[in-house]
């Protein structure tokens, strides 16, 4: 008890020294305002938290707990039992997702759109980071390529929304392949830094090449259309607008609902695609490469094409996310594609559990919707994300939901 108190006291003292100058002495002009209470409060919290944790860890219950959490760090993969039981649940979730527009306001539907875009981005990054084990810190580049593919595709090639989805996807996949090729020989952290460099280069080029991309002012993006029917009150490009054609009263929410529906279908398709992919030889090769590259190469797996396929498929999914982002915003500019955005997507993947499709989807939805509900705490959002990333790595590096390996029962055996 005494040593625990002493230890917590030391920790609190260090915390006070750390927090003191930066949160207790606030700069205003060339002078300072003293907020003595803030560092004291934080040091107090650290003291209480540390004391509780130490005492808990020393009790017999705590010892068991820490042994169960920290003891089996690498045994994080469980084999999936069949999926029959899940079907009902999946059908229920799909039904709920499709009926959401019936009882949500337009604002909340646009939040749902944002959540689904993050689901796409997280699924894409999960292929690269979670399955293939390559840390990509420049994933936002492909998001940007998709968004700008739509915006500039309309401006220069006259592509509409429907053409932009495959165009953005292919363009992003192409970028993924081109950027991926030179970096494949690298491992781990070097790869992370190179992709970070690429991501920043693409953003800076978008920002500086004003004559082509519109520079920091961005580009306007045309609204999505329903098979050529516009969602505005009066059709700008001739023809009938959507509400006249179907003889319903005009509502500005139609466009949002439509976009939500299309996005939901795309997300479901891609989820299905990713889930199936994991069971295919390609998906298994990704995971095997993640675990041990040298062993894979000696077993005859072509590591270049395998990694390249992971990189460009992840990029493709990210590109689709970008197209929908552009369509929902009606406007893109480079400031939406900073490194910070990459870090957020990575946070989603990490918190969902790298490699776990369900976990990543849940994390993407929770992490987008939660800050909207807790509006007052919005400024603490990123701080909390960062803390959660650190804690996650210490406590459960494989994510909150344990990833499951696909399992194939052999016929005839029990």
């Amino acid at each position: 008890m005494k040593s625990a108190l002493k230890e917590s006291g030391m920790t609190a003292l260090i915390a006070f020294l750390l927090f003191g100058p930066l949160s207790g002495l606030v700069l205003s002009g060339y002078g300072i305002e003293v907020h003595g209470f803030r560092p004291l409060l934080m040091a107090g919290l650290v003291f209480v938290g540390h004391l509780c944790f130490t005492l808990f860890a020393r009790s017999s219950l705590g010892r068991e707990w820490s042994a169960s959490v920290f003891g089996r760090r690498d045994g994080g993969v469980t084999v999936a039992r069949g999926e029959r039981g899940h079907r009902l649940l999946i059908a229920g979730v799909m039904l709920l997702a499709f009926s959401l527009p019936l009882f949500l306001s337009k604002y909340w539907i646009s939040v749902a759109i944002l959540a689904l875009i993050y689901v796409l981005l997280a699924l894409g990054l999960n292929i690269v980071v979670g399955l293939a084990g390559m840390l990509d810190l420049g994933f936002v580049a492909f998001y940007a390529v998709g968004a700008y593919g739509y915006a500039l595709g309309f401006e220069y090639l006259g592509l509409g929304f429907w053409a932009a989805i495959p165009f953005g996807a292919l363009l992003a996949a192409l970028f993924g392949a081109v950027l991926g090729f030179p970096v494949l020989r690298m491992h781990g952290d070097y790869l992370a830094i190179v992709t970070l460099g690429f991501g920043e280069i693409i953003r800076l080029v978008l920002n500086n090449w004003g004559s082509f991309t519109g520079g920091p002012n961005g580009v306007r993006v045309p609204a999505a259309t329903f098979f050529g029917l516009e969602f505005s009150r009066r059709a700008k490009q001739g023809g009938e607008p959507f509400h006249q054609f179907f003889n319903i009263t005009y509502s500005s929410a139609h466009k949002t609902i439509f976009l939500y529906g299309v996005l939901l279908v795309v997300v479901l398709l891609i989820t299905f695609f990713v889930v199936r992919l994991r069971r295919m030889p390609l998906g298994r090769a990704w995971e095997a490469l993640r675990e041990d590259e040298i062993a894979c190469r000696s077993l005859g797996i072509n590591h270049v094409t395998t990694k390249l396929s992971a990189f460009s498929m992840g990029a493709m999914v990210g590109g689709v996310g970008g197209v929908f982002f552009a369509a929902s915003q009606g406007f893109v500019n480079p400031s939406s594609f900073t490194f910070f955005e990459s870090a957020l997507i990575l946070a989603v993947v990490v918190l969902g559990g790298m490699g776990s499709t369900v976990g990543v989807i849940v994390a993407a939805i929770v992490l987008t919707v939660l800050p909207e509900i807790l509006r007052d705490l919005a400024s603490y959002r990123v701080l909390a994300f960062g803390l959660a990333m650190v804690l996650m790595m210490i406590w459960r590096p494989r994510g909150l939901i344990r990833p499951q390996r696909p399992f194939f029962p052999i016929k005839g055996s029990s």
Partner: protein
């Protein structure tokens, strides 16, 4: 080529390179000893800039006027507190991950980056902050027979001198003292060093403290030189300093300084003679190209992959 612009960019490049070098030391030492990229190191530099402003204001409130005293105190206090930050980050975010997978510390470091940036944003506000000019004045070298001149401010001189001093002190520490020998031993083989009685955890902490202290020196001097900063500055400067570390050969101390100088000079000449808008693109391209074609850098040892 215009001689005046050339010499001016040479000086600017040397100053910039010294700063990159000072920050790169932190990256290179940490990578050398535990093989991880301390992504949060750029934020350490950002924190030291804020601490500089806070301590300057504090000393002004306490009524200390003498410029050398203020400079010395600010340098000392900022270095101490920044080093404490470096130590705590290692203790909280990296040490528990010592036996984890290779990507875990890097992800933890990215989390730490978000934490530090937003902590400073919440604590000190999002708007950019500044420090009052402490040392004013400059040398001017005139070209004979014209009124064109090359200018170097006192602070710029101070930056170059401080970088040289800091680096020689660090080199001495690493090469001649017991602490340095333990550091080098841990770098070569952590397990063996531990078996021979080196407290490797303490050595790793020391390395974080030393790296942060160097970044703090850079932070103080840059704040005094440019006068203003915000909570974003850590990211780009951090990446560039990392580029310098990679360019010089990551893990090598003289390499960090050399890489810093090369990067600073080439960036300075690029923005002076080619294009200012694309100078960051230029620096990032160097990073990408070096990592692709010569990941071991100029003075580094190539990494051998063992099965």
């Amino acid at each position: 080529m215009d001689l005046i612009i050339f010499v001016q960019q040479l000086i600017n490049g040397l100053v910039l390179g010294s700063i990159y070098g000072l920050i790169a030391v932190g990256y290179t030492m940490v990578y050398g000893i535990i093989g991880m990229i301390n992504f949060a190191h750029g934020e350490i530099y950002m924190i030291s800039a804020y601490l500089t402003a806070v301590f300057l204001a504090l000393l002004a409130t306490l009524g200390i006027q003498s410029v050398p005293l203020v400079l010395l105190l600010v340098l000392l206090l900022t270095t101490l507190f920044t080093a404490l930050y470096g130590w705590s980050i290692e203790r909280v975010a990296y040490r528990p991950l010592r036996s984890s997978t290779r990507l875990a510390p890097l992800i933890s470091a990215i989390g730490m980056t978000l934490v530090l940036q937003n902590y400073v944003r919440l604590g000190q506000g999002a708007k950019s902050q500044g420090v009052p000019p402490l040392i004013e004045g400059h040398f001017r070298l005139f070209l004979t027979g014209s009124d064109q001149f090359v200018q170097i401010t006192y602070i710029q001189c101070l930056i170059i001198v401080a970088a040289l001093l800091g680096m020689s002190l660090l080199t001495y520490l690493m090469q001649k003292t017991t602490l340095g020998r333990s550091c080098r031993a841990t770098q070569q083989d952590r397990i063996m060093a531990g078996l021979l009685g080196v407290n490797t955890d303490r050595i790793i902490s020391t390395v974080f403290v030393l790296g942060s202290a160097m970044a703090a020196i850079a932070g103080v001097l840059v704040s005094l030189n440019y006068g203003s900063f915000d909570f974003h500055i850590g990211f780009v400067t951090g990446i560039k300093a990392f580029t310098a570390a990679v360019l010089g050969g990551i893990g090598s101390l003289p390499g960090a300084m050399l890489g810093g100088l090369i990067l600073g000079l080439s960036e300075s000449f690029f923005s002076g003679f080619v294009n200012t808008d694309y100078k960051d693109v230029f620096a990032f391209s160097i990073l990408v190209l070096v990592l692709i074609f010569k990941p071991s850098g100029l003075l580094g040892v190539p990494e051998v992959e063992k099965v």
